[in-house]
């Protein structure tokens, strides 16, 4: 594939969903089925187009192309390398599944004519973030996605949702301003904000540190990093489940992605190591991991628990990033994938449970495994992966992260990972064990001494096949990409780490 | 350097008119105005003396008005020649001010009449 084709494809990938948004809004007037089909089709097209970039990436291709000059020396440009590709492919994949899931899930909901266009628009903005060729475009798409995602969060329009949404919006704007500040400082120091020039800042300076902290605030806010995570546990539970899955699975990762870019394309790795700025991130990441896990324990609402779990999992990625060696970066990148699969599965499964039974409290989930075996099975699989049980992908990423920590001579981090895994076990197992091994509430009285009756009551109330298929595919991914380290995702992660640490070459 | 002070006093005086209570306000305003007058008096003392032919204001501008005025404009009344010929645009502005003043008064009175 030549360069021009790739550039055109990238532009199409970003603009197609954005162009489809008004089309969807228009189509809504005529037919719901057409709208749903079109939304899924758009997501699928985006996914396939993204996958078609793979041969180019496999050959080690990197593209940096300016599209439109918005100000002198400041342009909207696109950049493609292995990191962009990995995340773009991942996000469009999860988006496709969530769109499929939404068809049935949202059928009972109000205001679908708002939901689908926004869902597809955020996909475009998200791909835009991953393909952004300079910090300014990154910032533009980042803001675009964050602001529009607000509509997804407050979809229910309840008092609670509006409050959470307002918190989210204020935090987003603070983060956006911090990013703006950071981008401006980088522009001032380097005269450019392009990601294609290798490294922009390679000397330690006060201004550089300010910019670094601004980026930490801006992207860390999105990634749910410790002092800035406050919006996350409120915002994720109130959104419709497919939207929560996307928020947790993909949109949080845009923050992590931004930090990857900042670490490797804006500041030089040597500068970060010598000045010790990465320690700031490491400390915050450790706090994030422990705090997220610990607070998750105390939550009884399943979606809230999952949201706190997201915070701690994002901590892993940031921790891996702060260690700055090959294994740690591999682990961090791989964990982006793992967490996307695991957390999307969990949120979608939780959504299916809520949709079918209305149960949100984890203590009421006894015996649910009998009612919804597939959903609960997938849920358990993903939860086990979260804990880090060996054949699943969560184990692989934690293992690699731990290796990285040991390589860097920081065994303390391994301890943090272990504690967090233990905490994960403590809050996931009490959901899945009673779900399979206890009887549903309300049945307990009646089944005393009457075993046959119990058999009668064992009836399956599963969600619809479309929803189940989305959940199952994601759950399968947690196994497929965890069984051996010789899977495509893991090798992509290794290549990414190699590319990033090698300073732009494989 | 202390002339920046004048500026701040002026600004402060205006500001006070709207934030402080009435009695305090009038007293403070008088003090402030006194201060402003005091500082202005330095500027007045420094002004070029009135009617001195070496003043900067007596340069080629009034010279031409006085000498070439009648021949260039045909008016022996120099004031007329300045306001309606040399600087006629200002006079057009003044005529517009009159027009606008009437328009403002008529419009305001008409709309508030009933």
């Amino acid at each position: 594939m030549d360069k021009a084709t790739v550039i055109i494809m990238m532009v199409v990938i970003v603009t197609l969903p954005i162009i489809m948004t008004p089309v969807l809004m228009y189509v809504c007037r005529f037919s719901d089925r057409l709208r749903n089909g079109l939304a899924v089709l758009t997501a699928a097209t985006t996914f396939i187009l993204t996958l078609m970039l793979y041969p180019f990436i496999r050959d080690g291709g990197v593209i940096q192309q300016s599209i439109f000059e918005i100000l002198p020396d400041l342009e909207i440009s696109i950049h493609l390398d292995i990191l962009s590709f990995s995340l773009a492919a991942l996000s469009s994949f999860v988006w496709l599944l969530c769109a499929i899931y939404s068809i049935d899930y949202m059928a009972k909901e109000h205001a679908c004519s708002r939901y689908y266009p926004v869902l597809i628009f955020t996909l475009g903005a998200c791909q835009g973030i991953f393909f952004a060729g300079d910090l300014f475009s990154l910032f533009v798409f980042f803001e675009l996605m964050s602001i529009i995602a607000y509509i997804l969060i407050i979809h229910e329009q309840t008092e609670e949702a509006l409050k959470a949404g307002y918190k989210y919006l204020v935090m987003t704007i603070i983060g956006g301003l911090a990013l703006f500040f950071g981008v401006i400082i980088i522009f001032e120091i380097g005269g450019t904000v392009s990601l294609g020039v290798g490294v922009i800042v390679s000397e330690s300076s006060m201004l550089g540190l300010v910019a670094f902290i601004c980026f930490l605030i801006g992207f860390g806010m999105k990634a749910g990093m410790f002092p800035l995570h406050v919006w996350l546990p409120d915002a994720h539970p109130v959104a419709p489940s497919p939207a929560s899955a996307l928020l947790s699975g993909i949109m949080l990762k845009t923050g992590a992605y931004g930090l990857f870019r900042v670490f490797f394309h804006v500041f030089s790795v040597d500068l970060l190591r010598s000045s010790g700025w990465n320690v700031i991130l490491a400390v915050l990441a450790v706090i994030t991991i422990l705090l997220g896990s610990a607070v998750a324990l105390t939550q009884s609402d399943i979606k809230r628990r999952l949201a706190y779990s997201s915070i701690s999992q994002l901590g892993y990625i940031l921790l891996g990033l702060s260690i700055l060696n090959f294994n740690a970066i591999t682990g961090a990148t791989f964990h982006i994938f793992s967490h996307a699969f695991m957390k999307s599965t969990l949120f979608l499964a939780a959504g299916a449970i809520i949709w079918k039974t209305g149960i949100r409290n984890v203590n009421e989930m006894k015996g649910l495994g009998r009612l919804m075996p597939v959903t609960m099975g997938c849920f358990s699989l993903a939860a086990l992966a979260m804990i880090g049980i060996p054949p699943l992908n969560g184990f692989l990423s934690k293992w690699t992260l731990a290796l990285g920590a040991l390589d860097a001579g920081l065994p303390g981090y391994v301890l943090v990972l272990l504690i967090s895994s233990l905490l994960n076990a403590l809050y996931y197992l009490p959901i899945i064990i009673p779900a399979f091994f206890e009887h549903p509430e309300g049945e307990e009285n009646s089944h005393e001494g009457d075993d046959e009756k119990h058999e009668v009551q064992f009836k399956i109330k599963e969600a619809t096949p479309l929803m189940l298929s989305a959940i199952a595919i994601l759950a399968l991914c947690t196994i497929i990409f965890g069984l051996t380290p010789n899977n495509i995702v893991f090798s992509l992660s290794r290549l990414t780490a190699q590319y990033l640490l090698g300073g732009g070459s494989f | 350097m202390f002339y920046i002070l004048i500026l701040f006093l002026l600004i402060f005086a205006l500001f006070l008119r709207f934030i402080v209570g009435v009695e305090l306000r009038s007293i403070l305003t008088i003090y402030l105005l006194g201060l402003i007058v005091y500082f202005f008096s330095f500027a007045v003392a420094e002004m070029p003396t009135f009617g001195n032919p070496h003043n900067p204001a007596f340069n080629e501008v009034p010279e031409r008005y006085l000498e070439a005025g009648p021949s260039e404009t045909g008016a022996i009344n120099i004031i007329s020649s300045v306001i309606t010929d040399y600087r006629a645009f200002d006079t057009l502005g003044e005529a517009t001010v009159l027009f606008v003043a009437i328009a403002a008064v008529v419009a305001t009175l008409k709309s508030h009449r009933d």
Binding site: L169, I173, F181 | A107
Partner: protein, 492 residues
């Protein structure tokens, strides 16, 4: 300098003539009166566009009124920055006028609409002349016209608070004009000239002989323009005046009138005062600090308001202070930001006032807390409001980001991060008071209960145009910025 043809003066005269005949026509043919002013506004906008193509980005042309060369007669100058400002003035006023054609019928008595058209045309003429003139006394005369007309388009509305607000405005701005006249007299006394360029070369000599007079004049100028442009502690007249006025007047006053004085101050600083004067006394520093305070306090006051138009008025105080910060930083990038903000804010605030006007027109609701769910019944005005708020906050894709970007670069270039923080903090505050309105209007799930009138077509068209302008100023800004870069090189 070559001659400029008659376009610059034709812009002014065309508007004046249309203003003079509009009230006469209004007695017989109501429709014609508006059409004449509309035609004059369109004509002046087109003429301004012609001037732009004529002058280009670096040359400057001069027009001698009455064929008298500069120190004797009055001179109009057409340089890139003035042409830019002229375009903003004529373009935005044309746009607001089309809106006014629809809105005025319900805001004003039928008898006075003709007078309103006339006043409006004179206001635009005086503002165009203020941008073009190169003569201090002429500037004074034009400021007088501008002050009276601006006041009249407030008091023309049949409400008591309009009279009060207009009176307050008249007093304050008469005082400003008085200060200005005193300053002009002092400058004339020590230099003997009224023409900007002649004063500039003469002032550096006079600075040694009459420093106190010149300093006092500078202080008076700052007070004069500060009052008129609502620089922070002198802003007290603005909120009442802008909130009480009919909506097209509010859009005009907030969008253009206060900016024209900021532009005039900019001209005084860089075209009248020599560099040595600015180096001797830190006038820029004063403007910068007052601007920074205005940015913060304007936003904070705006947060406390319950009336929609009053909130917008306070927000204007903070936005005009951005322009003053651009002047105060005294640095090409910051000036670029400040000057660009003149245009951006003209578009944005006019759009916001227009949408507020449309809301009041069709529902009569002014209180912010009563706007829940209004987005469903008035989608277009509220959508325009949303875009305008986004630009106020400085979200990407709107003009607000571009001007903030350049202002921020300017603060970094001069190494004053404190002011960058001020800019960011104000953006955040803007978000805090604009966002809830938008959210409440679209997302709250409440039903809007009041009766709703249909918004006239001319208002809908102008609102849509406003949204497009705000977005265009955020995306296709490159040419304008390059234009500024070339134009500002002449200042340094």
């Amino acid at each position: 300098m070559e001659s400029a043809g008659h376009q610059p003066v034709l812009i002014i005269v065309l508007l004046l003539i249309s203003a003079f005949i509009a009230p006469l026509l209004y007695r017989r043919w109501r429709f014609l009166s508006g059409a004449v002013v509309l035609a004059a506004l369109t004509g002046s906008f087109i003429t301004a566009l012609l001037l732009l193509s004529k002058s280009g980005a670096s040359s400057s042309l001069s027009y001698h009124l009455g064929n008298w060369p500069p120190p004797w007669g009055i001179e109009l100058i057409i340089d890139p920055l003035r042409v830019y400002m002229l375009l903003v003035v004529t373009g935005v006023s044309l746009w607001i006028f089309i809106y006014a054609l629809g809105d005025l019928k319900h805001e004003l008595h039928n008898d006075v609409i003709g007078w309103y058209y006339s006043l409006y045309a004179v206001l635009v003429a005086s503002m165009s002349a203020i941008t073009l003139t190169n003569d201090l006394f002429n500037l004074f005369v034009l400021m007088e016209i501008c002050a009276i007309t601006a006041c009249a388009i407030i008091t023309i509305k049949d409400q008591r608070e309009c009279l009060e607000a207009g009176f307050k405005y008249l007093i304050m701005s008469a005082m400003g004009t008085g200060c200005f006249l005193l300053g002009v007299a002092m400058i004339y006394m020590v230099t003997g000239y009224l023409n900007y360029s002649f004063i500039q070369s003469e002032l550096s000599l006079a600075l040694t002989d009459y420093p106190l007079n010149i300093f006092t004049a500078a202080a008076l100028f700052i007070v004069a323009f500060g009052t008129k442009a609502a620089l922070f502690p002198l802003h007290v007249w603005l909120p009442d005046a802008h909130a009480a006025a009919p909506s097209p007047s509010s859009a005009m006053l907030s969008g253009l009138v206060i900016k024209i004085y900021a532009f005039a101050l900019f001209m005084i600083f860089y075209r009248v005062f020599p560099r040595s004067l600015l180096d001797t006394i830190p006038l820029n520093e004063i403007i910068l600090w007052l601007g920074a305070m205005g940015v913060m306090f304007g936003s904070i006051y705006a947060m406390l308001q319950t009336d929609l138009k009053k909130m917008l008025a306070y927000s204007s105080i903070s936005q005009i202070a951005f322009i003053f910060m651009g002047i105060g930083l005294d640095q090409p990038l910051a000036l670029t930001g400040g000057l660009y903000h003149i245009m951006v804010h003209a578009f944005t605030k006019s759009t916001l006032f227009m949408s507020a006007g449309a809301i009041i027109y069709s529902t009569g609701v002014r209180r912010i807390s009563d706007l829940g769910g209004i987005g469903k019944v008035l989608p277009l005005p509220l959508f325009a409001f949303t875009i305008g708020s986004a630009s106020m906050i400085g979200l990407p894709g709107t003009g607000g980001l571009i001007s903030k970007w350049y202002l921020a670069l300017g603060t970094l270039e001069t190494g004053r991060i404190l002011f960058l923080l001020v800019i960011l903090a104000s953006s955040l505050l803007n978000a805090i008071y604009y966002m809830p309105i938008v959210i409440n209007a679209f997302m709250s799930g409440e039903e809007f209960k009041e009766k709703v009138k249909i918004v006239p077509l001319s208002m809908q068209v102008t609102l849509a145009a406003g949204m497009i302008l705000v977005v265009i100023s955020g995306i296709f800004s490159r040419q304008v910025i390059i234009f500024f870069e070339q134009a500002l090189t002449s200042l340094y």
